[in-house]
Amino acid sequence: MLHFSLFIMLLATNANSGGARWCDSFDSIRKTTATIHSIEAGFEQKKILKILARPMVSSGRFVFEPPDSLRWEYLSPLESLLLMDRGKIARYSRRGGKYVADAAEQLEAMRIVMDEIKLWLTGDYDRSQSFGATLKNPGLNQIELVPKNAALRSFIQRIVITLDEKPGVVKSVEIIESPNASTFIEFVGVRLNSTLPMDAFTQTQ
């Protein structure tokens, strides 16, 4: 629920600064993210668990339009769609060849996550009330997020976001649940500031 959402907001904008790298400070990250008006990318997600012989791989694509429209779609092995359209959330799973809405109470947890995401979308990792953020520099291009309260820490130990050299682009996100369980998401084919289709954030199937 948390995972997919964390990454999209990290996708920022074209750099307009020479000199210092865009990811050298939270201020520069904020400035770099400020001019993005759309993000599209594919992703590959690997779930690592002790009881699996090899990671379980999922793939999909997502679209994001600040401040609060998102499409996060899994294409395999399960087809599933999470939509946020100007703040309104819906989630669908593919059954019998068409998308069917999922149980409503699951969306409440998503709403909490989305509120957090909106902060991150502007590069405000260090202003989150739920996560403490640390820039792992120089050279690592990483932000480490650690839950501030014990309840959240009981199911997510930390999140490591690796930023690309290309300004505004996130390379990968790793969500560590425990020493024996983690999820690694890698983004591919990132496109910034393209024109989005009209139905990017609606379910039409």
Binding site: L2, H3, I51, L78, S93, R95, V100, F155, E177, A181
Partner: protein, 232 residues
């Protein structure tokens, strides 16, 4: 008074009907020719694995009030030890539930939200054991149910009843009854390419608060199961 009774009566009838859907009793089995016993028992048990294995399922749950939910389920099992470890993942890869059943002794490694509720872990792992492990306990009868299906009946050490009925060479139905012989679970399953594993499974828990699980097998493989795989 008459008016109050008039209001209550239809609601009462509805509740009675709904509750009675869960009241199906253990049916009598008609005797069958003894010469067929061996072949029938072999048929009943052909759908179960003997060696340690790992399975991955796509799971669609239809919960009370017609709410739908989709998940991935990963289970490792050691049939010889009757150890099971089951993990439920959300579509996004969040670990929602992770627990081990050490032949009746439960250890919960992780449970989130509604899956933390008391009794959920035991209920889930009992269902998984019913689907993946050969029946435990005494084979008490072999016969034909009212619909003519050959049935192997087992009674577990805890007094529950399990009817296993091969409906064809590649399909089976399983019904579990509690100690009072009330129907608790009903399973219809279709074999995978080879016998020994269910490819498509429908599990129903009857009653007003019942639910349905549809499981589609994604992968099954043999494993070298050591005790550490079942521990956190």
């Amino acid at each position: 008074m008459k008016r109050i009774l008039g209001d209550i009566f239809p609601i009462g009838c509805l509740l009675l009907v709904v509750n009675c859907l869960a009241c199906a009793q253990l049916p009598r089995l008609r005797p069958m020719e003894r010469a067929s016993f061996g072949a029938t028992i072999h048929q009943c048990l052909a759908f179960y694995q003997n060696n340690p294995f790992r399975v991955i399922h796509r799971i669609e749950a239809t919960l009370p009030m017609q709410q739908q939910s989709s998940m991935l389920g990963i289970t490792i099992a050691d049939p010889g030890q009757r150890w099971i470890r089951s993990v439920l993942l959300s579509v996004e890869g969040v670990t929602l539930f992770d627990a081990t059943d050490w032949n009746g002794k439960l250890e919960i490694h992780r449970a989130i939200g509604p899956l933390e509720k008391e009794g959920f872990a035991k209920g889930l792992l009992d269902d998984v054991a019913m689907l993946l492990l050969a029946p435990q306990g005494l084979l008490t009868d072999v016969g034909r149910a009212g619909n003519g299906q050959v049935t192997c009946r087992f009674q577990s050490p805890s007094g529950e009843w399990l009817d296993v009925s091969p409906t064809s060479a590649s399909s089976i139905s399983i019904r579990r009854y509690d100690r009072l012989q009330r129907l608790q679970r009903e399973v219809r399953a279709q074999a995978w390419q080879d016998p020994g594993v269910f490819g498509k499974t429908l599990l129903s828990a009857p009653g007003a608060l019942g639910y349905t699980l549809r499981l589609d097998l994604v992968q099954i493989e043999s494993i070298e199961a050591g005790e550490e795989l079942f521990q956190d």
